[in-house]
């Protein structure tokens, strides 16, 4: 009697490790815009403004700045180029900060718009929320240090709003998806203020 019991037990227990199998890992990579940003930033930090200018002129940053010019403060692209030519590192940093704040803000606005769509299924809403937040953070994270240097309150406000949004994103499948939309609206508002303030300073400085 013992042997069949043992055999049955083995049949049940032994395949358990088959539930665990290699499926590979994924490490998110930079997209062409964040890659180009890092190239330009590190070139500027190294004092290689000629390299930075070349990378900016041929890179995805400038292409994207031109493509989204309507949503950006006027002259952002030409101003960035001029700052690189003038070897003005703080000005380059400020303009790139404005650009990435605008990208993150536009994503927050688009996320809010899409998540408000009543045709969206709960599953789709639950999947879309975190993905938008990830995309927003990918851009904002690049400039958080520059933001904190200029206006630490804004930096903290964005981080708090983002944390709150992440909390809501976990339960965005339900009708309480409104909480996530409110957080996204707040992120967009803070970033809009940052863009306006920074652009004003930039104009005053000129």
């Amino acid at each position: 009697m013992r042997l069949p019991v043992l055999a049955a037990l083995m049949l049940v227990v032994a395949p358990a490790p088959a539930f665990a199998h290699h499926v590979g890992t994924y490490t998110p990579q930079d997209n062409e815009i964040t890659t180009n940003f890092k190239q330009v930033k590190f070139s500027v930090q190294a004092g290689k403004f000629d390299v930075a200018l070349r990378l900016f002129e041929a890179g995805a940053l400038r292409t994207q700045m031109r493509a989204t010019a309507a949503a950006l403060p006027p002259g952002l692209e030409s101003g960035t180029r001029a700052a690189l030519q003038a070897e003005d590192a703080p000005e380059v940093e400020r303009r790139l900060m404005i650009f990435f704040a605008a990208l993150a803000r536009d994503l927050a606005l688009e996320a809010g718009r899409q998540l408000a769509d009543p045709r969206l299924t709960p599953e789709a809403r639950a999947a879309a929320g975190p993905r938008f937040l990830e995309a927003i953070w990918r851009y904002y994270n690049l400039i958080d240090f520059a933001v904190a240097l200029r206006d630490d309150k804004t930096s903290v406000a964005v981080r708090l709003a983002f944390d709150e949004a992440e909390g809501y994103a976990k339960k965005a499948a339900g009708p309480e998806g409104a909480g996530l939309r409110d957080s996204l609206r707040r992120i967009a508002q803070i970033l809009t203020n940052l863009i306006d303030t920074s652009s004003t300073f930039a104009r005053r400085d000129r």
Partner: protein
């Protein structure tokens, strides 16, 4: 006691060799047709936006597509690796079974489980890579798990424990 190793049945050797051949052909095809495969997978994913949760915003969707393509590529690589490895595992373990399992029925059962389980398991990765564009990473994985990885992997593990038990028994009886 006869110390000579005994060969497993020829059909088992054939299965193991064919599996290794498939691994090599798969690996070579993966390199040769990398661009075509990626293009096909990307096209199939874009044709099923709902499955992948694409939202029509490049900054969001590119990351989703990139992850799915990395997993698609990983599944093909894992098929290559597991088919190579399991081919050798089949040869080694069925040789041990053919040599040390005295009772005909248990010997045949162990060899059958090791061969079928070992040959089937890597195909789960091939299935998963094909399912990713149509069903997404997680759902594709669940299908491959229940159709192939768990039954075939389970068969191999059961057979290996069984074989290990027999080897221990032989040691004790010595």
């Amino acid at each position: 006691m006869n110390h000579a190793w005994r060969l497993p049945p020829l059909w088992v050797v054939l299965v193991a060799v064919v599996l290794i051949v498939c691994a090599e052909v798969g690996g070579a095809s993966m390199v040769r047709f990398r661009i075509e495969l990626t293009r096909w997978a990307r096209g199939a994913m874009l044709a099923h936006p709902g499955v992948h949760g694409l939202v029509g915003v490049r900054d969001v969707d590119e990351r989703v597509l990139d992850e799915a393509l990395v997993k698609f590529d990983a599944a093909l690589r894992l098929f290559h690796l597991h088919a190579e490895g399991m081919g050798l595992v089949i040869l080694a373990t069925t040789t041990v079974a053919a040599t040390l399992a005295r009772a005909r029925r248990s010997r045949e059962a162990i060899i059958a489980l090791l061969t079928v389980g070992g040959a089937g398991y890597p195909l789960g990765y091939l299935l998963w890579s094909w399912l990713i564009p149509y069903h997404g990473i997680e759902r594709g994985k669940a299908i491959a798990e229940w159709l192939i990885w768990i039954p075939f992997g389970g068969a191999t593990i059961v057979a290996l424990w069984w074989l290990a038990g027999l080897v221990v028994l032989r040691l004790v009886q010595r």
